[in-house]
Symmetry: C2
Subunit: 187 residues, 2 copies
């Protein structure tokens, strides 16, 4: 078994987290472009939250940020509209073959999922199990129920396969999650 | 008549644009916090989009971004959910007493408003006319119709007062736009 980059995670939490998510992020962005171009849905990734401290203004060129820091996100990374419904989700890659640790999702993001569910959102998590090259859609409601039960500190892979929904991949839609959303949320 | 900071706008487009919007942005953020705390709606401002070029990792302290640039936004600044509906809007301050120039809104943002309208969003613009200290909600649909007519390069103040809806301000809700949304979009 291989766990690429596993050592980096705790040294540089902010950046490694975004590196780890890179290829899932690219797949989702590509799929979202397809959805938008085909008038299926409008869903975007939010920009990485950054606290800007210092900006230089060189003459005749663009303003340059010279000091800034990563901020903890207060919401999930993706939201938008599909079939008139508000869509909200977080995407995570998981390198472990056995379970997805809750420490990979910020408390703020879980609170955000609770909040939007209360207001009628279609809310979920896309989890890429890199070891198996499988992407799962997990309803935020199911995730939170398991999380709140408080019995474990991670989602076991078995739970994921039994409660999650495998997301199909095609060349134009490398993470075709709306196909699953439509069925699972009965839209 | 006073036009505060009017000279800055064209020298430093990226940053002055966000400076100009600062106090409206603060008012909307404060109002959004009230909405969230009172379980009325979950609406967030998206982070400022930034292209990160170089990051330093000092020992025992947080990763520091040392080179980054502002990116043009590809969507509006705010979105979220209210009464089960997808909400999407852009907020702008206007210093001119006579009209709001279309050059203040990026083409991408107008396209984004078209896209989300097509999918059933509640979409609008919040426009603060700083000279009069008035905030207006303008339906994105009305804005786009006027924009597409192509007869002018700005929204005249008179058009704004006739077609926009004045947004009430209170201490806890300094820009209580959902009160207007509920009426105007008949929710």
């Amino acid at each position: 078994m291989k766990y690429p980059n596993s050592g980096k995670v705790y040294e540089k939490p902010n950046v490694s987290a975004s590196n780890r998510g890179m290829s899932l992020e690219e797949d989702i962005n590509k799929t979202n472009r397809y959805y938008r171009n085909e008038d299926i849905a409008v869903i975007h990734k939010k920009p990485t939250p950054v606290t800007i401290v210092k900006v230089d203004y060189p003459k005749r060129s663009a303003a340059k940020i010279v000091e800034a820091y990563f901020k903890l996100p207060s919401t999930t990374d993706y939201n938008g509209i599909y079939m008139g419904k508000y869509i909200d989700f977080e995407a995570k890659e998981c390198e472990s073959a056995t379970s997805f640790p809750f420490s990979s999702i910020h408390a703020h993001q879980i609170q955000h999922l609770r909040d939007v569910i209360k207001h009628g959102a279609i809310a979920f998590i896309i989890l890429r199990m890199t070891h198996y090259d499988e992407d799962f859609l997990i309803k935020a409601y199911d995730f939170i129920q398991f999380y709140d039960a408080g019995k474990r500190k991670s989602l076991p892979y078995r739970w994921i396969t039994e409660n999650g929904f495998l997301i199909p991949k095609t060349y134009t839609k490398p993470c075709d999650y709306l196909l699953i959303v439509k069925k699972v949320f009965e839209l």
